[in-house]
């Protein structure tokens, strides 16, 4: 009898032990997200989730602030030479690497040169997008606190691109093996790396002596919880402070809980239906949608606000062109939902309804599960187009093996549903998807001369006010004749603990340095 009582008491003690309550203490903030980090080597990173963690471990010369604008970080200032082919950054004095060594211009130069070195075979976004888009030529150490970044030609979005390059220190990174660099990074930012338990958690601790930013929390724990319902349950129980990608059908549940609320932000990801302009689809529909007036008619056929309200559970920021607001052309208004106008325009374009009520048929290709409620959104779009006589058949494909390669090879279509990340700091960054006809990001193979002839003018070194005028002209061209049926900027839903003072950003970045307890 006594042993039974003892066992029951032990069980009760275990069940009520403080260790069971997994609530973070006042000095720790816990974030739960869906997928594990890929690597903690800055030159190998491609995913936003991984970069969000790395942004706390490493710093950059300039950064994109919480307001979406560029601001100084490791560099106090910069200056350009007369033709804009070299940007000299003046580093903030007194910076140190996490191994204790001083951070100098040598380290910055090493970071850029190391990422670019083909011998390293890095495949991350820094060597595989940033440096090539930058037109990176080389580096020059001007003095211990001044480094020059040399470019092949003037680049109006160079500063923004440079924010993506995370600075590493030469001393530790020349000693570390490749595996050590991916698993146990030696950082330069406000938090230092402590532990990575794969598919479970990454733990960071405040770096003593880092004075550029004041971090409130001593520890940040990034937990990997793949299932959205489990993430939401952990948030509502008070075990995590921030969760990403709250499913729309769980928003009300979280909002009604005692511990958390959902923050909805209009993200920077541009959602659209791409129209293949390359003459590879010879069906009547494939030919019809290459005409500007037909595409314009289809814009009126889709009820975007209703799609947002009903399927995404929020009122979206409508897209009027391809640039994130407020950087776009303020005079352009979104296409209204007006199916009668769409039908009239299609009649006028020479595509009347046939005896069966169909004007022409189209295939809308998409991958399911990639974007917020994309499956239902695609079906709704197809139905809206079918309602105006454009019979639209949906073809769902595997993202990795079929859809992504098709879009990258410019062979998707005639219609395809896609979302492309954008920025908040310069319209040219968003417009660069259509920097030239053959660029990989020009998935619809658009070649309109009115658009492409304006690029040299837009890229010229000039005051930003003048550049914006050219940009506005280009965006009007895109609105009138572009290869996208413009939909919305994807809303992002974050679940945030009531104890936390933190504001979600538009650009999918999670910056916890400024987060505090309420």
């Amino acid at each position: 009898m006594n042993s039974r009582l003892a066992a029951a008491a032990a069980l009760l003690a275990l069940l009520s032990s403080p260790a069971l309550a997994q609530r973070p203490d006042a000095s720790t903030v816990v974030v739960a997200f869906g997928t594990d980090a890929q690597t903690l080597e800055p030159a190998e990173m491609n995913s936003r989730d991984t970069m969000n963690i790395a942004d706390h471990i490493f710093g950059s010369l300039y950064e994109i602030g919480d307001d979406g604008h560029l601001s100084p970080y490791f560099a106090d200032s910069f200056s350009e030479n007369t033709d804009g082919t070299e940007i000299a950054f003046k580093l903030h004095p007194g910076l140190t690497c996490h191994d204790g060594s001083p951070l100098t211009a040598e380290d910055v130069a090493f970071t850029f040169d190391r990422a670019r070195d083909p011998a390293n075979k890095f495949t991350g976004s820094t060597p595989g997008f940033v440096l090539t888009s930058l037109g990176f030529k080389g580096t020059r150490v001007i003095d211990p606190l001044t480094v020059g970044i040399e470019l092949n030609a003037y680049n109006p979005i160079a500063l923004g691109l440079i924010t993506e390059v995370k600075i590493v220190c030469k001393a530790p990174y020349t000693k570390m093996s490749r595996v050590q660099a991916t698993q146990t990074p030696v950082g330069t930012g406000p938090y230092r790396f402590v532990e990575w338990v794969k598919s479970d958690r990454i733990v960071l601790e405040k770096q003593p002596g880092f004075t550029l930013r004041h971090a409130f929390f001593d520890r940040i724990v990034w937990r990997v919880i793949p299932e959205a319902s489990t993430r939401a349950a952990e948030l509502m129980a008070g075990n995590v402070d921030v969760i990403t990608s709250v499913a729309p059908d769980q928003i009300d549940t979280v909002n009604h809980s005692a511990n958390a609320k959902v923050q909805a932000v209009s993200g920077t990801r541009r959602m659209y239906v791409g129209v293949q302009m390359k003459p590879i689809f010879s069906t009547p529909g494939g030919i019809a949608v290459r005409k500007d007036d037909v595409r314009r008619a289809l814009q009126y056929a889709i009820d975007v606000p209703t799609i947002c309200e009903q399927l995404l559970r929020t009122s979206c920021q409508r897209a009027t062109d391809l640039v994130n607001p407020p950087l776009g052309n303020p005079d352009i208004k979104p296409y209204p939902y007006d199916p009668a106008a769409a039908e009239k325009m299609l009649d006028a374009a020479g595509y009347p309804r046939g005896a069966n009520g169909v004007r022409f048929e189209l295939t809308l290709q998409a991958a399911s599960g990639r974007y917020l409620n994309d499956h239902d959104v695609v079906l709704a779009i197809a139905q809206y187009l079918s309602d105006v006589g454009v019979k639209t058949n949906v073809e769902f494909m595997d993202w990795a093996s079929v859809f992504l390669p098709l879009t990258r090879r410019h062979e998707a279509g005639p219609l395809f549903f896609l979302g492309t990340g954008g920025g908040t700091w310069n319209p040219l960054y968003d417009m660069a998807d259509f920097a030239d006809v053959s660029s990989v990001t020009n998935t619809p193979s658009w070649s309109d001369p009115d658009w492409f002839s304006l690029w040299p003018e837009a890229n010229r070194k000039q005051p930003e006010v003048d550049r914006q005028k050219v940009v506005n002209r280009m965006l009007q061209v895109f609105h009138d004749k572009g290869p996208w049926l413009e939909l919305y900027f994807q809303p992002d839903f974050y679940g945030v603990s009531n104890r936390l003072a933190w504001q979600a950003r538009r650009d999918e970045r999670i910056n916890l340095v400024g987060a505090t307890l309420k």
């Binding site: 069971l20 794969k198 349950a233 129980a237 660029s439």
Partner: protein, 325 residues
């Protein structure tokens, strides 16, 4: 016996090799995975450079031969996702899955045998009906739903048990840190309860039905009647005579089930954020991380082949009429 073992091991090696060929071809049939490992804004030149760096610019035959050469040296390549040795990554995930699978198996076997025997001994009674209804529910309710219900009820509602995550015991044990393993044990047990019960429920249901039908068959045999006629106690008849002979199909099922569970617990590992090998393989397939999938396949098929062999040996031990030749 030795000759049998050698022959089976050689056959097992061929099976593993065959599995790698099929996996390799299946993964490459989906096209070039390079697109998943470059920025969405990468240029054609960037993509070509990445393709060369990842080795996907080589003909398939060359890529497979490189893989085989690596396999012979115990090097299964570098994970495209984690940028580190693929075999090391797989081995890192294995202990968590073994902890989960073993716990679930112990729970399922420990309960299914007495339940199956009870149901067989009380055939046609409400007790038998009740156990069979439980078995039906266990096999009918999808594990993802049951897992989420457990989380909401025991985790969020009652707050009795952790809803997600893993506290390791086996990993520190394998690393020689016995103290850490012991310290982790109470929390590890608490974290294990919900996922292990979720997995065990399905196996429990299936195995109890299997034990019941096997026992019913054996209980009709002449030697059971003889044992009872000799005046043996019922418990001796059931455990010593009937159950021992009813074991064979159950042992086969348990052995194979363990192999399946090692790679097939992906749903439960996902729901409970359990950092196991099933979830890892699922993500690797989605990410087309070919070296990682290959390393996992080699390991899992090796375990599967080993378990099959073990089951055959166990068969011979349990039933002396079975001859291994």
């Amino acid at each position: 016996m030795i000759a049998y073992l050698i022959r089976r091991l050689l056959q097992g090696g061929l099976v593993v090799l065959g599995v790698t060929v099929v996996t390799f071809l299946a993964l490459h049939l989906g096209g070039d995975p390079t697109y998943l490992y470059v920025s969405e804004r990468a240029s054609a030149g960037d993509i070509a450079a990445a393709r060369a760096a990842l080795g996907f610019d080589q003909p398939l035959s060359v890529q497979y031969l490189r893989f085989l050469a690596g396999l012979l040296h115990g090097d299964l390549g570098t994970s495209l996702t984690y940028k580190t040795g693929a075999m090391g990554v797989v081995m890192g995930f294995f202990p968590a899955t073994i902890e989960l699978t073993l716990s679930a198996m112990l729970l399922a076997v420990g309960l299914s045998i007495p339940l199956g025997v009870l149901a067989a001994l009380h055939r046609g009674t409400p007790l038998d009906g009740g156990i069979m209804v439980l078995a039906l529910v266990g096999q009918s309710v999808p594990s993802f739903w049951m897992g989420i219900m457990f989380i909401l009820f025991f985790g969020l509602g009652l707050q009795w048990l952790p809803m997600s995550g893993h506290v390791p015991v086996l990993a520190p044990l394998l690393a020689g840190d016995v103290g850490q393993a012991v310290r982790n044990l109470p929390q590890a047990a608490l974290h294990l309860i919900l996922p292990a019960v979720t997995i065990a429920f399905f196996s429990l249901a299936r195995n109890s039905r299997l034990v019941r039908s096997s026992m019913l068959e054996v209980l009709e045999q002449d030697y059971v009647r003889t044992a009872r006629a000799k005046g043996l106690r019922e418990s001796r008849v059931v455990i010593g005579h009937a159950l021992r002979n009813a074991w064979l199909p159950v042992v086969t099922m348990i052995g194979l089930e363990f192999g399946f569970l090692l790679g097939g617990v992906v749903v439960v590992e996902t729901i409970f954020a359990w950092p196991g090998v099933g979830r890892m393989v699922f993500n690797a397939i989605n990410q087309r991380d070919i070296p990682l999938v290959q390393a996992a396949v080699v390991t899992l098929s090796g375990v599967f082949v080993g378990l099959n062999l073990l089951v055959d040996l166990l068969y011979a031990w349990l039933d002396p009429r079975v001859r291994l030749a």
